[in-house]
Amino acid sequence: MAEEKKVAEAVVAAPKKKITGKQVADFLLNNAMYIIILLVVVYVAIKAPAFLKLPSIVNIVSLTAAKLPIALGIAGCIVLTGTDISAGRVVGLSACISASLLTTTFKVFPNMTDPLPLPIVLLLVMVVGAVVGLVNGFSVAKFKLHPFIVTLSTQLIVYGIILLYLMSGVNNGQTLSGLTEGYRGFITGTLFSIGGVAVPNYVLYSIILTALMWLIWNKTTFGKNMFAVGSNEEAANVSGVNVTKTIIMVFVLAGVMYSLTGFLDGARIASANANTGLNYECDAIAACVIGGVSFVGGIGRISGIVVGVLLLQIIFTGLNFLSVDANMLYIIKGLIILVACAIDMRKYLVRK
């Protein structure tokens, strides 16, 4: 009898340890993005083994570092349940300004004889980015306009400014190039070499900016206020948070991050024209959503953003290695954004 009892208990106890189908489905759906990326990596590694070699990995890390600052900036706007589609054009404008002032062949300012010192140009582009951010933030905060409307107009206005800027002097709309050795060396000079492959300096600058943003998001009152306003603006207002100031500061900070991206990109690509920075914000927003910065507002982690940018870069470098039709990449990118949003929505609905 005791044996039968034990067997019966074991039968009753055992099923509770089984993993339910629902748990498996939940796990698969919540982590669908990571599983897809793993499959892509495995497939590319089989078809093109050079993908996992050191030069390729350093290339992926470098490209991630180049695209990180703009994602860090735009993440703040997403936390506030907004968006910022002027990001790419601000990147382009600051790249053009940097390239026109730190060059050996002066076309936009034909009367210049020497390039400006690097710190002056850096400060100048940061001010430009901050001004655009100020216009965006002020319009959103004071007039309660939806960020989409505001940043759509600033996007077009900044593009017009880029075109006018490139037409001025003797340049007539041409691509700016012939950058100074100092500028190029500062950004793309070798930080250190692993196994013969050079890691560029801008990887370090990207790491510094990431650490800075982490401090701002997690260790300052401004960061806490940003999350409070993103979660519930009225409640934050009642709790004593200066909502207007917070929104403006978020957009100004984002603008500065965009201009820093432009400063780095000018030297990284070694040229700048009217198309520099075009559609950069699409990649940045996609990376943020993949990285867990939810459109619900008030949710986000810096570590998630870094992971999001990295994963997106891995996918597209992998597809590049496979020589996938370049036009298909846009469709794939759009679908990835949809999947990331669907997973994000699902997590939110289930968690509630």
Partner: protein, 184 residues
């Protein structure tokens, strides 16, 4: 810890919201009724399955039903009316669409390389084709142009970035531009 604090803070302001959700109650009631219908069909199906599966379903449904009483869906998902079940179908469908797109992209693989002689004779018709990633471009005869000498192929029309036919591999669709120097 700070990120967790943030999520706790995110929940605190919501406690002040129940007064504001009266207007949203009709919306949430609609969602609730569809959820209850789905729950009924779900529970009928799982009677055939194991007991734990039914228990798991019940706890999930409880989680879905609880917030409808007080919580407010917010942010850019404010007006979203979608259920977890619909998303359970949408996500795999989108993933399959991505895989199909990659497969289609692989069938048209390759990057097109074209040549622009910038005023010189047209060359490179046989070399104008799709190249795989990293492939070197086929050798092309130099174009000729009256009064100018050919300086080489460049990646841009302004001839600032030279292309080394021996060493550089194709990494994206591109056009090679001929560089010219005036003969003296």
């Amino acid at each position: 810890m700070n990120e967790e604090e943030k999520e706790v803070k995110e929940m605190e302001p919501k406690e002040m919201e129940p007064k504001e959700t009266e207007s949203k109650e009709t919306e949430s009631k609609e969602i609730e009724s569809t959820e209850i219908e789905q729950a009924k069909t779900e529970s009928i199906e799982t009677e055939k399955g194991s007991q734990e599966a039914a228990e798991a379903n019940e706890t999930n449904e409880e989680k879905e039903n609880q917030p409808k009483q007080g919580r407010q869906i917010r942010g850019l998902y404010d007006k979203v009316k979608i259920s977890v079940k619909q998303l359970n179908i949408i996500i795999p469908v989108l993933l399959i669409a991505i895989v199909i797109c990659v497969a289609i992209g692989l069938s048209n693989r390759g990057y097109l390389v074209q040549f622009n002689s910038q005023g010189g004779t047209t060359v490179g018709e046989s070399a104008t084709r799709k190249y795989l990633y990293g492939e070197k471009i086929d050798s092309v005869e130099d174009p000729t142009r009256e009064g100018y000498s050919f300086t080489g192929w460049y990646q841009d029309a302004a001839c600032t970035f030279p292309w080394d036919m021996e060493k550089d591999g194709v990494i994206e669709p591109m056009t090679l531009y001929a560089g010219w120097e005036e003969k003296k």
